[in-house]
């Protein structure tokens, strides 16, 4: 295989980010797989003709011309498994069959089914088992027999387990807004499922992403869980709607295991009856790791869970006038919707005088000239680096054409506006609205989350201008973007100036009339938002957009 050198690099990278393999469980099968991997190394010169030793996946719906190596690299990247070794191939009836050295990799490849490649949707399935088994039985060598044996048991138990997880979800869960909880409690003992195996969680995440679109809570209580490592892979299953996790009565004893959850959006965590609850400053440690966590073990996280800070308190979104803030939010909403889409309509928001530049802080583990890092690195207008005036001028994109051309090179993004901090105000003595947003985005192509700071200087779009005709209320005069490794934003404390109860009632009535929320839920929403009407409205709009407001919360 020509890609050996490359592969070595990727393995290092995958190992660095993967955070270790799950402990215990499935040891026998894994050992066999590892041993086989080494055996294959000595056997590298086998031709690319299909060897029936390996389980195969079948890829159908491919474009007419396919660069097989490119496709294989793509699959490795998408499955987050740089170490997958494909063994042999065969084109038959328009389908591509690929042998997979390590059967453990097959479920994640199948999990990619439906992915777009070369502009079309391809489906990936495992080749019919019976024909594979038949082929194998003809294989005379001892090695083949051992492999057939271990792989088949592995595969059968795999399929069986997936079926039992699917059955469990089908029988216990109905996907509607009233059922928010998917419950996997006790399955370790009742169905003999190993919850310390990454395979199990890949299956679970897949089933949730297919069958439980409205769930926001997952319970894994009483499952003998010792490691949270599989949750590092959850981000690629688009499960952002799941924000509450119950790990009650498991065996998590190392606080650092919680770092495996650091890419997830979290509201509530439960670790009751786990050894970690016994460690000193347990609540403080968890609160520090997850600044946006609201509840831990059923109790709201409050000031007492934080170490005293030497600095003045951090406050939520700042604005100098609510009208301008609304204007800024509206602009950002439209801007990022277009930026996350095809970006074509963004050009009208800029003039021939607009300026854009960016700076970039690389992740310590990332390879600078790979993937999206390359775009950021090349455009990094960081004055800390030695840079001559020519370079500084080239990297100051000036005018809508240059800016739009740069955005065309910029990786595809999904911005999460709801979890960002936005300050908006007029620059003193001017009519220029400054909007500074701090948040994060996902690069769906690589499943990488990054944080960013983006400063906009805006002016109202002149009536009749291209911008106004294009639906923009503002034009961008200056824009500066800083891209950096993903980090959760710190916890902010709303100014506590609780309105009097009469004032509260007036606000509730107004909010309830506007949103059609029943007063008790309007009150809850306002309470959560520190009685800031704008903030409450924002919360409400977000929940509504995600269909997270049950019908019976509303005035019928």
């Amino acid at each position: 295989m020509s890609g050996n050198k490359k592969r070595g690099v990727r393995i290092v990278r995958g190992g660095g980010g993967g955070g270790g393999r799950p402990r215990g469980g499935g040891g026998g099968a894994r050992q066999a797989a590892t041993r086989n991997r080494f055996q294959v190394v000595t056997n590298r010169n086998t031709s690319d003709s299909m060897s029936d030793e390996y389980s195969r996946i079948c890829i159908s719906g491919l474009p007419k011309t396919v660069d097989r190596n490119d496709l294989m690299e793509y699959l490795k990247l998408k499955s987050f498994k740089p170490g997958i070794n494909f063994k042999g191939y065969e084109f038959r009836n328009g389908n591509l069959f690929l042998g997979v050295e390590n059967t453990e990799d097959i479920p994640s490849l199948i999990g990619l089914s439906g992915i777009r490649y070369g502009g079309v949707k391809v489906s990936i399935s495992q080749e019919d088992k019976n024909s594979v088994r038949q082929n194998r039985q003809n294989k005379p060598t001892q090695r083949g027999q051992i492999r057939t044996f271990t792989n088949n048991t592995d595969k059968i138990s795999n399929t069986k387990q997936l079926k039992s997880i699917e059955d469990h979800v089908n029988s216990s869960y109905v996907d509607n807004a009233n059922q928010e909880v998917v419950d996997f409690s006790y399955l370790h003992s009742t169905k003999d499922i190993n919850f310390n195996d990454i395979k199990t969680f890949r299956q679970i995440f897949r089933v949730i992403s297919e069958k439980c679109l409205k769930a926001n809570t997952v319970s894994f209580s009483h499952n003998n869980i010792t490691t949270l490592a599989p949750f590092r892979f959850m981000i690629k299953y688009s499960l952002d709607h799941v924000i509450n996790f119950n790990f009650d009565s498991n065996k998590i004893s190392d606080i650092n295991e919680l770092d495996c959850l650091s890419d997830l959006t979290l509201r509530e965590l439960v670790f009751t009856n786990n050894p970690i609850c016994q460690i000193p400053n347990y609540r403080m440690e968890v609160a520090r790791k997850f600044p946006d966590l609201k509840f831990l073990d059923g109790k709201e996280i409050g000031p007492e869970d934080f170490p005293p800070s030497p600095i003045p308190p951090l406050r939520p979104n700042y604005c100098d006038s609510p009208d301008r803030q609304q204007f800024a939010y509206k602009f950002l909403e439209r801007f990022f919707k277009i930026f996350d889409g095809t970006r074509e309509d963004i050009i009208k928001a800029y003039t021939d005088e607009s300026k854009f530049s960016m700076t970039y802080v690389a992740d310590s583990g990332s390879l600078p000239m790979r993937g999206s890092n390359k775009v950021y690195q090349r455009s990094n207008r960081n004055f800390k680096k030695p840079m001559d005036a020519v370079k500084k001028t080239q990297l100051l994109f000036s005018g809508y054409d240059n800016i739009y051309n740069f955005f065309k090179l910029y990786p595809k993004t999904q911005h999460a506006l709801s979890s960002s901090i936005i300050d908006s105000f007029l620059a003193p003595g001017t009519q220029l609205l400054t909007v500074i947003i701090h948040g994060h985005f996902l690069e769906p192509t690589f499943n990488i989350k990054r944080s960013f700071d983006r400063t906009f200087v805006l002016a109202p779009a002149p009536p009749g201008s291209d911008a106004a005709k294009g639906g923009w209320e503002a034009i961008v005069l200056n824009e500066q973007l800083n891209v950096r490794p993903y980090l959760r934003l710190p916890r902010v404390e709303p100014v506590v100036s609780q309105p009097s109860s009469a004032e509260q009632e007036a606000i509730i009535n107004e909010f309830s009339a506007y949103t059609k929320l029943k007063p008790e839920f309007a009150k809850e929403c306002l309470n959560m938002s520190g009685w800031d009407k704008n903030k409450a409205l924002e919360t409400f709009s977000n929940l509504k957009a995600n269909n997270q407001i049950p019908q019976d919360y509303l005035i019928q």
């Binding site: 939520p316 990094n380 004055f383 800390k384 680096k385 840079m387 240059n402 901090i421 220029l432 400054t434």
Partner: protein, 155 residues
Amino acid sequence: MSFKKFNNNPSNNDISSYGNVDENLKKIVETISPRAEAFVKEYFYNMFDNNRGELVQLYKDDSVSIWNGTECKGKEHIGKLLAEIPKSKHIVETFDCQPMPGEDKENPNLLINASGKVTYGESSTHEFHQTFYLAKDPTNPNIFFISFDCIRLNS
């Protein structure tokens, strides 16, 4: 060529990647860049960490300093805020400067964005991001003051 590759200075390798250089823009960049560099490297963070009492002199009476969502307007309030923040040590990792639109295109006001790490007191370390608007002094176009700055701790 191969030496350059290991020179860790990619700027030499892809110099032509973003097209021709606009000479007028280059002139402006040459005017404002040294100002931004002096402001970030010599003035603001240096004074903030080592000589904070003098820092308020960089502001004027209609200046605004926004500290993590709290607005301080005017020298007096800004001075009070600065006194409230414990001893600090900033390490700037990135900064960048753009010309702001205005009447005097050849000598424009400056938009500066900086980010890095800051430690307050003994051990409270955070990532920070700060935006500055530097405006010309009405009496002397070669002297700049902070019209606003807005900082957020990102961790």
